[in-house]
């Protein structure tokens, strides 16, 4: 049994990251993610890690990538405007295959928007924000406990698949305080390290049947090259059309072929459900009450909550939709994930939507009204 403590979501994210082995944090102050920087500044030097406040958001993600290249698990955190600024280097980490965790405590946009208000408006930016075709793993916590445990999962997936992982928190969870249990032991995965002699010449070499190249830290003696240009297995730029196709295809498959390992979904009362509320992150809180009220009224209501937002749990949703009469998507935006849901469920069942862009939270009653609607 671990100990139970009262914690804020942003703090839990830091503690989870530390438990996963984060030893470098680079950030820039921005509401509502600032506490992640503040807690990191306090905690990292206590455990021999490094905190640095960089000059801007772009520098923060660049610095975190640099830390990871030198072999140290690294994280940066931000909110909407900062997440926009980080997009270019996010793509760099995707292509160069640098393990990294980027936290976005979402706030209401667009632009400077409503800085202290909750939102889930960055969900599509998480998928498509950086230019070019690239793989994405994005995870959304819906409790403080999950902010802790899923932060660990973000690091583990980043290391295992040598890719940036986006921790899509929102203001609701970031600033929520609740009691959580800190486990005594957590599973920690480290990046696949180099054990073959040819790594210096072929740092991106893939063995038959594998999709993730092993990784040496700078300073270990491999003296290899990293670039944001399309490169071959040597790590050097190439203009070869075959190599370009091979690389981008492998990067996409690296994630999609490991769907079962990466994708997590929380299904509540879905066994007999005729109506499912699809929600994620902080919206889950209202959805639970809405479901309970619907059940009290005799409506067989369940909740389908993607924990992994990208890749979206489409196999599970498609299977569920075949047994449902209706899906109600609730999210704090003008309609983002609902588009993905609409694509997946085809016309298997009806589709309702509850969105909000005024900076307030979606209420259980608003969801319930859509659940009850014919």
């Amino acid at each position: 049994m671990g100990k139970t403590v009262l914690m804020q979501g942003n703090e839990a994210c830091v503690e989870g990251a530390l438990a996963a082995g984060m030893r470098l944090y680079a950030g820039y102050p921005i509401t509502p993610s600032t506490e992640i920087a503040e807690f990191s500044a306090v905690r990292l030097p206590q455990v021999g890690g490094k905190f640095i406040q960089m000059e801007d958001e772009i520098a923060s993600i660049a610095c975190a990538i640099g830390g990871s290249v030198a072999g140290v698990k690294s994280m940066t955190a931000t909110s909407g405007p900062g997440f926009s600024l980080k997009q270019e280097n996010l793509g760099y980490a995707c292509l160069a295959e640098i393990p990294l965790v980027v936290v976005d405590v979402q706030r209401a946009g667009p632009s400077t928007g409503l800085p202290t208000s909750p939102s889930q408006g960055d969900i599509m930016m998480a998928r498509w924000g950086t230019h070019g075709d690239h793989p994405v793993i994005a995870i959304a916590p819906s409790s403080v406990s999950e902010a802790y445990n899923l932060a660990i999962r973000c690091f583990n997936l980043a290391e295992k698949y040598r890719t940036p992982v986006l921790f899509m928190m929102d203001e609701i969870i970031g600033h929520l305080r609740e009691g959580i249990e800190i486990p005594d032991h957590v599973e920690v995965i480290d990046r696949p390290t180099v054990d073959y002699p040819d790594a210096k010449r072929m740092p991106y070499q893939i063995k038959e049947g594998q999709l993730v190249p092993k990784m040496a830290a700078f300073g270990e003696g491999q003296r290899y090259n990293i670039t944001g240009l399309i490169h071959d297995e040597s790590g050097f730029p190439t203009n070869s059309t075959e190599e370009a196709e091979k690389l981008v295809t492998r990067l996409m498959h690296k994630i999609s072929d490991n769907y079962d390992d990466i994708v997590q979904v929380d299904q509540v009362n879905m066994e007999d459900a005729e109506v499912a509320i699809v929600c994620y992150g902080g919206t889950m809180r209202a959805a639970i009450t809405a479901m309970e009220k619907a059940r009290a009224k005799g409506i067989k209501c369940g909740i389908f909550r993607p924990i992994t937002i990208w890749p979206f749990p489409e196999r599970e949703l498609l299977a569920a939709s075949e047994k449902l009469k209706k899906v109600v998507v609730a999210e704090h935006n003008y309609g983002q994930i609902v588009l993905e849901v609409e694509r997946i469920i085809k016309n298997n069942c009806k589709l309702g939507f509850v969105g909000k862009v005024n900076g307030t939270v979606i209420t259980p009653e608003e969801i319930l009204a859509k659940v009850e609607e014919d």
């Binding site: 772009i58 700078f218 300073g219 944001g228």
Partner: protein, 287 residues
């Protein structure tokens, strides 16, 4: 003309340097004939050789542009990053592992336009990076647009009527921002530049060596500067030392290239200070 008789250098054959510090399988380089960047790249190799550094512990970080291809040609830990961000990436590498010698190879546009914020803040922070600017006063990779170091009235493809902007003095900018070592070399003044790069690497703190390169293809052609040799000759004939410059008026310094160490002082280095903090906290916990 600057006297080089008192500059010492171990005699190393250039081809020996190439086989030791370059990646011959990735040569020839992509730079145009006459480009000054190859000379500066060689200066870096020579400085590393003179200092006897362990290549496994040397990291070269570059951004985007002509200069930034240098990293890949050299046999160290090399990372070719995004435009303007080399110093920010380098900061993470140095912070994560302060034992590494982290050298940033950048250009004038990379370091002072898109990356200007990182340059001044790394200087202010006094983190132990050595920034070598291959300053050719033009955006070469994209075909000759004016940069923050293009002289006023000079021509570029985006300055067809002459540049209206004023040029940055990069060593002066870094000095103003708090760099504890700031120097200026040139493609022509290899001996002095090698010496400055050595000093910069040895220096405990942020160092910048702004090295005047030559771009005969774009800057030279647009501004009728003649051949690559003519442009190097211009560097030779129009340079003055920092000491000489101190005795000259602003008018006399017009169009001159001031070579030498602009500023050198000792401040606490960032990663060293951070290590001290970690040790202090560990000690407090024990007590």
């Amino acid at each position: 003309m600057i006297d080089t008789s008192n500059v010492s250098e171990k005699t190393v054959n250039t081809s020996d340097l190439i086989y030791k510090y370059m990646r011959p399988e990735h040569l020839p380089h992509i730079w145009c004939p006459g480009c000054g960047h190859g000379i500066i790249m060689r200066d870096v190799a020579q400085a590393v050789e003179n200092l006897g550094l362990d290549r496994d512990k040397v990291v070269l970080v570059s951004g985007i542009g002509c200069s930034s291809r240098a990293a890949g040609y050299m046999d160290f830990n090399t990372i070719h990053t995004t435009h303007g961000r080399a110093i920010a990436f380098a900061t993470g590498i140095k912070l994560a592992n302060p034992e590494l010698e982290v050298i940033v190879l950048t250009g004038d546009g990379d370091a002072s336009a898109i990356g200007g914020n990182h340059l001044i803040h790394a200087a202010r922070r006094n983190i132990g990076l050595t920034v070598i600017v291959m300053n050719n006063t033009i955006y070469g990779m994209t075909g000759g647009q004016y940069s923050p170091t293009t002289p006023r009235k000079a021509f570029g493809t985006t300055a067809p009527y002459g540049n209206l902007d004023r040029a940055f003095d990069l060593a002066g900018l870094a000095y103003g921002a708090g760099a504890s070592y700031a120097a200026r070399g040139s493609a022509f003044h290899t001996q002095q530049t090698i010496q400055m790069i050595q000093e910069g690497i040895r220096h405990q703190g942020f160092s910048i060596i702004d090295v005047a390169s030559v771009c005969p293809t774009y800057f030279g052609r647009k501004n009728k500067k003649g051949s690559a040799v003519d442009m190097l000759r211009w560097q030779k004939e129009n340079s003055v030392t920092v000491e000489q410059a101190k005795k000259m008026t602003a008018e006399q310094l017009q169009g001159k290239l001031v070579i030498g160490v602009i500023h050198q002082v000792q401040y606490p280095e960032f990663t060293f200070e951070y290590q001290k903090l970690i040790q202090r906290l560990a000690k407090e916990r024990e007590e």
